[in-house]
């Protein structure tokens, strides 16, 4: 039995998946997930630094903080935080 919910049509309204659901091989799916997270991390690089500082002290935490700070500096050089800030300003209109 391999993902039978992608092979049989469920009663209407009872399931999100059906034989019509588009599927991709795991490698392609990994590309989609990886790129989505990369774009997200690029636009939220400052939040990543905050998250890294919030991690419990453990081996590797320092390295993670350094990596997050390096990533944030690189994204700032590209001007992405300013883009994100402008977008956030538009999206929070009226708050």
């Amino acid at each position: 039995m391999r993902q039978p919910w992608l092979q049989t049509q469920a009663e209407s309204g009872t399931d999100d998946f059906s034989p019509r659901s588009a599927t991709r091989p795991a490698g392609r799916a990994a590309l989609v997930v990886g790129l989505a997270l990369l774009v997200f991390a690029a636009l939220r690089s400052a939040a990543l630094v905050d998250a890294a500082y919030g991690l419990p002290l453990a081996p590797g935490t320092e390295a993670l903080i350094s990596a997050a700070e390096g990533w944030d500096t690189a994204m700032a050089a590209l001007g992405l935080p300013a883009v994100a800030e402008a977008l956030a300003g538009i999206l929070s209109t009226g708050r």
Binding site: T23, V33, L38, A84
Partner: protein, 463 residues
Amino acid sequence: MLFPTGLFAIFFAAVFAGHWLAVRHAPRLVLPLLLLASLVFYAAFSVEFCVALVAVGLWAWGFGLVAAGGRKRGTLALGIGGVLAWLGWFKYAGFLLREASPLGAALGLPPLPAPEILLPVGISFYTFQAISYMVDVHRGEARAEASPLKVLVYLTFFPHLAAGPIVRAAHFLPQLHTLPDRARVPVVMAGLLILGGLAKKMVMANELATGLVDPVFRDPLAHGPLDILLACYGYTIQIWCDFSGYSDMAIGLAALLGYHFPRNFNQPFRALTLSEFWRRWHISLSTWLRDYLYKPLGGSRGSEARTRRNLLLTMLLGGIWHGAAWTFVLWGALHGAALVAERALGLRAAATGRLGRLLRWAVTFHIVVAAFVLFRAPDLATIGALAEGLAQGAPDSLWTPRLLAIAALGLALHFAPPDLRQRAEAVLRPLPAPVLGLVFGLAMAAIILAAPAGVAPFIYFQF
């Protein structure tokens, strides 16, 4: 570790990669890896409770082995009783001792201890799943697992661990007996579910909570009648966005790993009757209560009076399941009474005519809203204060065009055509993987940027 955080995103990326690599290169490691990931996820909340979670899993597995195939009913009862005692201690011991204190004092007894008991995240969900395993195995609907590994993965699987959906053993365990197909990952639908859930939770639920509902329920008398009314309706939209958003994300995350959870919400506010509402709202709980409580009580097999008693009892226990507070008891009692009234008045039959349907919808919706006010109120005094605030007429200060727009957007999303997600999937289906990744990443960032600062816990985390 909450779903809408950067930490969870990193965690999930690692689990996703490790899982599919294991499916391809080391199939024997698939389940141990999923168990490890789930325990790491849970340990982020509490390491001690993580050990307890494993103990509940081993308990269910052991009793499942003994009570399999209809044998030893007494043993099954003991297994269920043990799990319920575990749940009862954490959820109800403090409440019962507190409530019994005045009675004890009146009888001249020494004061009872009032322990501050920390509630383990997801305890109501995983205990119900443990019961589902033991009962399904006893009924012969699920196989008794010889090794505890699959039972532990079933119980701890991180997408549903903290707040459901309550996945049945008979539904999920068979999925663990074969490897998911590497060639068939429904990434578009899963992505849409995750993004939709994220938007519902982060933008709509959080904004309604922080901007309107929380301030009003914290101090009703400080707010005007319009604010109070809007907060009552707003909470109904908030809880739908919050909980169905969580469920959508859980379903999408599980689907990305090749596993299936059934749908948990199906446009509940379209319901024309309360019984229809319960076929659309928190479906995994309502069907659990139906199959493991209502039917064993006799369901609708006996006299009409017995059926009504069973309905009332089931809804009352459903209310208590949510928490140890009189407000939850009243919430369950109101739903139970409304369901009984519906039966008594013959309202379960289809309404005829447009006006009849509209009237039925309005009555059902407002019973649901009123019940959610009970559900949200921290205590009975707050409900009195809300009523008083409606009459007092303090100035309204909370509602803004943005909040109204957010509420309208939440309702629009709820009442959208049922196949909206499938239509969106049809649009995204032809996109190449890199473009799809870019679209999903931009959408995710836009949702987070539109949300109020911080991540409020999901409402159902407290249960």
